[in-house]
């Protein structure tokens, strides 16, 4: 069995198309904060949109220039027919742009199913009741698209399947944190991102294989860094300059806090067997959420500091997509908190004008600064 998840990313439509051939439905999703377990239990494969930066053509007629590359990339592939096979679209409210994009798609393709899912920022009885009703209403809508009806047994199975997946991913993260030289960062990130497009049974099998192949070897020396922000997934498959620059600068990625697939690592659907599985799923959607819009930046700072402590992180590199407001709003809080805790940081804008040359200069300057170990920050 292959264990290189980069190949999975390269064939990103294969899994959805196969699932459809076997009679299932496929839902295009943005953000893991959508009820994937519910969808899977109804025979629907949720697949995350994978983004690529690039020159966008037709999408520019619909989206203003001051929107992020993620939204343009999704729209571009809708317009050119790449996503024609999807049975619907479900986005989570993680930013204004994605809601706006859902609106455009629902006007352009009125016959298609488009849904904006809101995972509450708060955690109280009202939110719990809301999510319960929302999940039930969604199950009905999926059924009207041809999905199987919701059943507690199948939902229980789906929760257990997804929890296993989270445990395996967590295991890889933990292992990598302690032995950062044992597995390349692209491999780890590709594994997480593949979770968003593959059926979980196959993904779990591949993760187990990957775990078998990474063995604790002699510790590699290097500067231990943490990545945060957002990375264009497709760059992983096709080779990203950032990682070669990091390698050449002798940087070891010990942890990452990238937006893609965050819920897969951080949040288990908890509760003991025998409880109503729907209640447990509801509970997993109570706030605050992993997305920056729906949780305070202090919480994110706490998670970063925890990773710094656990894995000996020496600095944080933020990958900031241009025009991503929720991430941009967090930076003025995160950087000072890191600084107060003697953790230097570097901010890199990951789309738009930053060339490989500029990125190299900045990353190298940052790595040098880390060897001098002054807690400062650099804006690129």
């Amino acid at each position: 069995m292959q264990t290189d998840f980069r190949n999975v990313l390269k064939e990103r439509h294969k899994w959805g198309l196969q699932h459809q051939e076997n009679g299932g439905l496929v839902m295009g999703c943005y953000s893991a904060m959508v009820p994937e377990e519910l969808m899977w239990s109804c025979g629907v494969l949720p697949i995350q949109f994978l983004m690529s930066p690039g020159t966008y053509g037709e999408s520019q007629a619909y989206l203003p220039p001051y929107t992020c590359d993620c939204s343009k990339s999704i729209l571009e592939e809708y317009l050119d027919g790449t996503y024609r096979y999807l049975d619907g679209l479900m986005v989570s409210h993680v930013c204004e742009t994605i809601r706006g994009l859902a609106g455009i798609l629902s006007v352009r393709w009125p016959e298609r199913f488009v849904h904006v899912f809101t995972a509450p920022a708060c955690n109280d009885l009202g939110a719990r009741r809301y999510i319960r009703a929302e999940l039930m209403s969604l199950a009905e809508k999926l059924q009207s698209l041809g999905a199987a009806p919701m059943s507690p047994e199948r939902l229980e199975e789906a929760i257990s399947l997804y929890n296993t997946n989270r445990e395996l991913i967590n295991e890889i993260y933990h292992f990598r944190g302690q032995n950062p030289g044992a597995v390349e960062p692209e491999q780890v990130l590709s594994a997480v991102m593949s979770a968003g497009i593959m059926p979980r049974p196959q993904h779990n099998r591949m993760l187990r294989e990957l775990l078998k192949t990474i063995h604790k070897g002699p510790e590699r020396a290097g500067t231990r860094i943490i990545l945060a922000g957002l990375l264009f997934e497709i760059e992983l498959a096709e080779g990203n300059n950032l990682f070669s620059i990091l390698r050449e600068s002798n940087a070891l990625v010990v942890w990452d806090d990238l937006a893609s697939g965050m819920r897969y690592r951080l949040e288990r659907v908890e509760g003991s067997k025998g409880d109503d599985p729907l209640d447990r799923l509801v509970e997993s959607f109570m706030g605050p959420q992993p997305a920056p819009l729906r949780s305070p930046a202090e919480r994110k700072a706490g998670q970063l500091l925890k990773a710094v402590r656990e894995y000996g992180g020496e600095g944080v590199i933020f990958l900031i997509p241009k025009y991503c407001d929720p991430i941009l709003f967090e930076i003025p809080t995160l950087i000072p908190i890191l600084k107060e805790n003697d953790v230097p940081s570097l901010c890199l804008e990951v789309s738009g004008s930053l060339s490989e040359g500029q990125m190299r200069v900045r990353v190298e300057a940052f790595m040098e600064m880390l060897s001098g170990s002054s807690a400062d920050s650099i804006w690129a």
């Binding site: 619909y62 455009i104 009202g126 009741r129 809301y130």
Partner: protein, 411 residues
């Protein structure tokens, strides 16, 4: 003998005097130790006023800042503190005022707590988070569902009601003041009356010539946003309604002769409201606009009224129909109704780099106006609260050509 009627200019004077007294009232409240809350322009003032809280809206203060041509400096101040220039200029200017402890009438008093709205837009959550951290005060974020289409499912409304009740509990905790249902009921009733009166004023804009244009209406909005739930807002709109009816009766308009009636989409350029005067000088009136009709007033524009007998339900409905809480299919149909029913012959779509909520989806609206109503649009890019984003000379040149095109097309 001079009659006792008020011109549009005199109405504006009444409003300006009241605005000053409103800010003085907040300062006084702070001095006297009464609770002061910051909230967003979409904040539930009805509930806060009912609970004895003085409400301060930094966004409104930003608009005053813009009018006094002070916004640029405050935006720059924020940018010098890692606030990206790509973020909403309300937030940048507001944060700049906060960091520099200054503002058009001096610094705003510090809040005792803050009420943000995570469901409204990215800044309405994250700007307040920065503010709360700066002042070290509690932040309450209201959440709400989002509907692409108009249909409200029972659980949407139930959650909104629950959020408002949760807020009431939070305010009780912060202030030690009890929630009194009768006070709340009265504030919601006043808000409903203000909106219903505002709707009547908007109706009168259908007359040719239009008695009030966008410049007048965006000023009027002050009472719908900051004073919803207070008697003063009802009194103001009744006064404006009376005067506007009289203007209609006498056939008086913003322009005596309208060359073109326009629909305007997005927030006005607060630092340059003179664009409306310039349009008027060209014989063009903004007979209807998205901003005053669809954002706060969406529920009423869609025909809703506060008639459920339950103040929480009424307020929840108003919230669910904010433009920020509905998707493009609803936004688009509202634009079509506004442009058609107010007899607009052309449209100006301001593509606002500051505001993705109102700007994404504009091309679809422009296409629909053209295809369904034959209305052509002009679009330009700027930011409503950052004067660095706009060149009046270039704008005049382009809009001038557009207006000529519209007039020629009508011939």
């Amino acid at each position: 003998m001079k009659d006792d009627r008020l011109s549009n200019r005199e109405i504006a004077q009444v409003r300006k005097a009241y605005t000053k007294s409103y800010y003085a009232r907040i300062r006084q409240a702070k001095k006297e130790g009464r609770p002061v809350a910051y909230t967003t322009a979409l904040g539930p003032t009805e509930l806060l006023y009912a609970m004895g809280v003085d409400v301060c809206m930094p966004e409104n203060y930003v608009t005053i800042c813009c009018a006094k041509q002070m916004a640029k400096g405050f935006c720059e101040e924020a940018e010098s503190r890692s606030i990206s220039p790509d973020l909403c200029s309300y937030a940048r200017c507001g944060l700049g005022m906060m960091y520099s402890m200054d503002g058009p009438m001096g610094a705003l008093p510090e809040p005792d707590f803050i009420v943000g709205v995570v469901s409204a837009c990215d800044p309405h959550a994250k700007w307040w988070e920065l503010t709360a951290r700066h002042y070290n005060v509690p932040l309450f974020l209201i959440d709400s569902s989002y509907r692409l289409r108009r249909k409200v499912e029972p659980h949407h409304e139930a959650w909104m009601i629950s959020e408002l009740k949760r807020l009431a509990g939070f305010v009780e905790e912060q202030t030690g003041l009890p929630f009194v249902e009768d006070d709340f009921r009265e504030c919601v009733r006043l808000s409903g009356e203000a909106h219903a009166t505002f709707a009547e004023i908007q109706e009168l804009r259908k007359h040719i010539p239009a008695p009030r244009g966008m410049r007048e209406m965006v000023g009027d909005l002050f009472y719908l946003i900051t004073q919803a739930g207070r008697r003063e807002s009802v009194d103001y709109y009744r006064m404006v309604l009376k005067e506007t009816r009289e203007r209609v009766r006498r056939g008086e308009g913003v322009l005596d002769e309208e060359r073109v009636r326009l629909y305007f989409h997005n927030i006005p350029l607060w630092f340059n409201l003179q664009i409306f005067d310039w349009l008027a000088a060209q014989g063009a009136v903004v007979a209807m606009d998205f901003y005053t009709n669809h954002v706060w007033h969406g529920f009423f524009f869609d025909g809703g009224r506060f008639d459920s007998e339950d103040p929480f339900r009424d307020l929840a409905r108003k919230w669910l129909f904010f433009d920020n809480h509905v998707g493009l299919p609803v936004k688009l149909s509202r634009s079509l109704i506004s442009a058609r029913e107010w007899g607009c012959q052309g449209a100006i779509f301001f593509s606002n780099r500051s505001c993705k909520v109102y700007s994404i989806g504009q091309p679809e609206q422009m296409r629909a106006l053209e295809q369904e109503l034959g209305i052509r649009s002009f679009t330009f890019e700027a930011e409503m609260a950052d004067p660095r984003s706009f060149s009046m000379d270039r704008w005049k040149e382009h809009v001038g050509m557009f207006l000529d095109f519209l007039v020629d097309a009508r011939r």
